[in-house]
């Protein structure tokens, strides 16, 4: 049903140039920004990874998930459980384990949810995410409503040789940047692979795909699992950066924010997801910092903004670009 309109899969030249320029700015940023801003941009890049992972479902396959935050949060919790109270653990095995944990959860939940369509898919993904949320919220042994602390950032030494230091804000920044670019590259590769083409086919006409002999269930489950795993990567970084995890990371607001990021930036090409994540976070902090106590009511401004965007620019910023340039997909 949703996201049936042709998505901007091939990025127009002008846009590509702008994005490369933006990337150069991102690479140069730590030389100019203070620690505070470095952390802020790192957080935006983490959310960009999260938004890209959802884009595989929402923009490419046409599945609107309202429960994607569950897989984001799970990997964060995985890191919290794996980190002992008084020491750091190695990044090199905890990161894959955390991503695997999220993928596994997505595989199991996906088994139930991808057999549903349209409205059902939206409601069921949300309900299952809420189930995971309550599992952690209700159980004191899993941190309960307060969540868990991650006292030490993962260590990066290989055979005792220190490579880089995640306690260093600049190192963490570049590590996240590399991760974000890697995820982008992997997803772009996937988008143009036979699997990616099949997923896009499912978005455009699932019945036809099935008539052509594609097992759409298998493809959708694959997409759901990969998206869950990549969301886990973002969640792991989020947990490592902030030093704590709580159930709100898996909450329904988090999932809805990711959807909003995609709509803002444009869906189906992953670059839009990055742009959307940055735009959304910048807007959110702008609303929260409004002067004269107006920032206290940020929910009102954010809500109004979202409603206005949906009414007047439902295809987001890149959609406006598309309209102006008349670009073809």
């Amino acid at each position: 049903m949703s996201a049936m309109k042709a998505n901007l899969e091939r990025l127009p030249k002008g846009l590509q140039a702008t994005l490369v320029l933006a990337l150069l700015c991102l690479i140069a940023f730590p030389f100019a920004g203070s620690d505070f801003y470095k952390e802020m941009v790192t957080r935006m890049m983490i959310l960009a990874i999260f938004a890209m992972s959802l884009d595989l479902l929402q923009g490419v396959t046409g599945l609107v998930s309202l429960g994607h935050a569950a897989y984001f949060g799970l990997a964060g919790y995985a890191l919290a459980f794996l980190t002992p109270e008084g020491a750091a653990v190695s990044l090199w095995w905890t990161l894959p384990v955390a991503v695997l944990a999220s993928s596994l959860a997505a595989l199991v939940i996906g088994f139930f949810v991808v057999r549903t369509h349209g409205i059902y898919f939206i409601m069921v993904t949300m309900a299952f995410a809420q189930m995971v949320y309550f599992l952690f919220f209700d159980n004191k042994s899993l941190g309960g409503s307060d969540g868990l602390y991650i006292n030490f950032k993962p260590s990066t030494s290989i055979f005792g040789v220190q490579t880089f230091d995640l306690d260093n804000k600049t190192h963490f920044y570049y590590f996240t940047l590399v991760m974000m670019l890697a995820v982008y590259a992997i997803l772009r590769k996937l988008l143009w692979s036979p699997t990616g083409r099949a997923l896009a086919g499912i978005r455009i006409n699932e019945h036809r795909m099935r008539a052509m002999g594609y097992g759409t269930f298998k493809y959708k489950l694959t997409a759901f699992t990969i998206a869950g795993g990549l969301a886990g990567l973002a969640g792991y970084l989020q947990g490592a950066q902030s030093g704590f995890v709580n159930p709100e990371l898996m909450g329904f607001h988090m999932s809805a924010h990711a959807i909003m990021m995609l709509v803002l930036g444009g869906m189906g090409n992953f670059a839009g997801a990055i742009v959307g994540a940055f735009s959304f976070e910048i807007l959110l902090s702008l609303f929260k910092d409004l002067p004269n106590g107006l920032g206290k009511h940020w929910q009102l401004w954010m809500g109004t903004f979202i409603v206005l965007i949906v009414i007047f620019a439902p295809r987001g910023l890149m959609g406006l670009w598309e309209k102006n340039k008349g670009a073809q997909t």
Binding site: A3, I119, M131, F252
Partner: protein, 287 residues
């Protein structure tokens, strides 16, 4: 568990189930007839509870507050439908999700600006503040029984409107084939507005009658919204009968889960939903 405790829990589960039904009925009708995903449905529940708190504080009578509040909710529902929702019936589900998510933020903030972020209590009416003794030590509050009574009356009323009246006939026709209904000269836009306002009023009244028991607090809409989603998924979209049965089922599983299996009680309802999905992916009573 002895018989008296069992009876109390059973009454609680029926009462919770009926309350969920009031919310889910509106939600499933709006889904079924207009095809709209309404995340803001929980906000109407919250709005009702706060209206009950504000109006009963003003006039000292919960009954009067509920009557006036229900009327206000209908007006509010009509206005919201006319201003926003009407333009989204034909849009992508994605747009509907975002619109109604934006509305949640707006309603939450307006609630915070009007009534603050504290938890408030609503007094139970004098007449219903007694308890029915069950054994020497256990008793059951009359208000909870009255609540279930109101829910049953409203459910019967809804059933009567939908199956026996001319309006109900038009609503069913609209749900079955909206374009054909319109071609036959029925004002489908009006039907949509009525159904939407009805859904808002049902949710709001549910919030009002629940307010003395659950108290009134920020974010009370979200948790109830997700339960309603589960009810609608289990019952089948658009089916009011399905919503009733699913709501009672969810009420039963949730209430007894909390008593018998407290450590996983929060998850039980979702496990129930997963089981139903495996068995019938489109709910028990697909329309």
């Amino acid at each position: 568990m002895d018989l008296a405790t069992f009876l109390i829990q059973l009454l609680n589960s029926v009462q919770y189930g009926l309350l969920l039904f009031m919310l889910a009925a509106g939600l499933t009708l709006i889904f079924g007839i207009m095809g709209v995903v309404n995340l803001a449905h929980g906000s109407f529940y919250m709005l009702g509870a706060y209206l009950a708190y504000a109006l009963s504080g003003l006039w000292g009578s919960l009954t009067l507050a509920i009557l006036v509040g229900a009327l206000l909710s209908v007006v509010f529902g009509l206005a919201l439908e006319w201003l926003l929702f009407r333009h989204f019936y034909e849009r992508d589900h994605l747009d509907q999700v975002l619109l109604t998510f934006g509305l949640i933020y707006i309603f939450e903030e307006l609630r915070s600006m009007l009534w603050g972020d504290d938890v408030h209590g609503v007094a139970i009416p004098e007449l219903l503040s007694q308890s029915v003794p069950l054994t020497d030590t256990l008793s059951y509050p009359v208000y909870r029984l009255a609540m279930s009574g109101v829910c049953v009356a409203l459910a019967l009323g809804l059933y009567w409107v939908i199956t026996k009246t001319k309006l109900g006939m038009k609503i069913r026709a609209g749900a079955f084939n909206s374009a054909m209904t319109e071609a036959l000269g029925i004002n489908i836009k009006l039907i949509h507005a009525v159904v939407f306002a009805l859904g808002v009023a049902l949710a709001s009244v549910a919030g009002m009658i629940a307010s003395p028991i659950s108290s009134v607090y920020p974010g009370m809409g979200s948790s109830v919204l997700i339960m309603c989603f589960v009810v609608v998924v289990i019952g089948g979209i658009g089916s009011v009968r399905g919503a009733l049965i699913a709501a009672l089922l969810v009420g039963f599983v949730d209430t007894f889960g909390k008593v018998l299996l407290p450590s996983i009680s929060g998850m039980l309802v979702y496990i129930l939903m997963a089981a139903v999905l495996l068995w019938k992916p489109e709910g028990l009573f697909k329309q």
